[in-house]
Symmetry: C2
Subunit: 196 residues, 2 copies
């Protein structure tokens, strides 16, 4: 367990590393620059990240994963009206459109190694939390009679997560948000059809 001060220092290091990586790219980033930016010395860096750069990259990936969800708030956490759903849809599209072909989390996951257990844990946890919030929104809308009873929140939220991941993957390669938008719109159409 870290003390409050220790946690703050660790947090400063991760924030500095995330900023350096966003600015210079993950391959060009150097521990020296992270130390300077976070005002921590080498010995402190290695105290918090004894395994060095790999371990630090993983911490930055976790931070970027949290940011993916934060960027969708407050809408994602309160999908209790169609207005909120459509606002959330616009926030997601706008976030990824702004981001364009550069996905900070994707870059880190590729660097850590897409098939390593550590990288898979980060993406797995992100998708799970994301999907849970969407499922909660679907359940709320069902309870309010806005989504028909036969829609299964677990299945429909999984489909929505797949739609977003696919739309974003195509955006990352093509630069166009069209697929992301059509996929999201169709999922919302599906949820909104024939409400009781």
């Amino acid at each position: 367990m870290l003390t409050a001060k220790g946690a703050a220092t660790r947090d400063r290091i991760v924030t500095a590393a995330a900023a350096e990586i966003r600015e210079r790219g993950v391959t060009a980033v150097r521990l020296d620059d992270i130390g300077r930016r976070s005002r921590t010395g080498k010995s402190q860096l290695f105290h918090y990240f004894p395994d060095g750069k790999e371990q630090l990259l993983l911490a930055v990936a976790e931070r970027e994963a949290e940011r993916v969800l934060e960027d969708q708030e407050p809408q994602l956490g309160q999908l209790t009206s169609w207005e909120a759903w459509h606002e959330w849809r616009d926030v997601v599209v706008e976030k990824y459109r702004r981001q364009g072909v550069n996905c900070p989390l994707g870059v880190l996951i590729t660097e850590i190694g897409r098939h390593t257990p550590a990288a898979q844990a980060v993406t797995g946890r992100l998708l799970e939390q994301w999907q849970q919030r969407i499922a909660a929104g679907i359940a709320d809308m069902k309870a309010a009679g806005e989504i028909r009873a036969e829609v299964d929140p677990a299945r429909a939220s999984a489909a929505l997560i797949a739609a977003i991941q696919g739309g974003v993957a195509i955006l990352l390669s093509s630069g166009s948000s069209t697929h992301l938008e059509y996929a999201l719109d169709q999922c919302l159409d599906y949820l909104g059809a024939n409400a009781s």
Copy 2:
């Protein structure tokens, strides 16, 4: 332009390279082994691929992209009944389930460089052809009165492509086909709802 014999030799080289890469991985593959397997000498290899390994990898990526569509035939080319659509859905799920976390095309695209124009052209063309066939199937089903008039083939096919890409991306990282299946099922539910 290649002569028929030249085209056959080039084809043999690409087939051998694809097999070597599938067996040994893209980083371990050597031109010597490809030459031995295709029964071509170094000078022939460089005649057909003067820029060397990079150019050959691109040709293999194009071959793997064609294979993605071939694997879905004959169903993908004749989506003219609900039976055909559900068969196609099962073929897609089975193909990616069998493939598991190893995507031959994805490995090549990563190696060539996801953001290079050459790699983007290969994936762009693949997604476009894939989507066109799905859109043709939707148009056929609309003409037969099996899909309601307000469904737009261009938008619905884009949503389906995004659903597949997202489901496969999640399968590649998690090993589970659940997202792919739920996403496909929901798209088919959407298409099939309230047909005239």
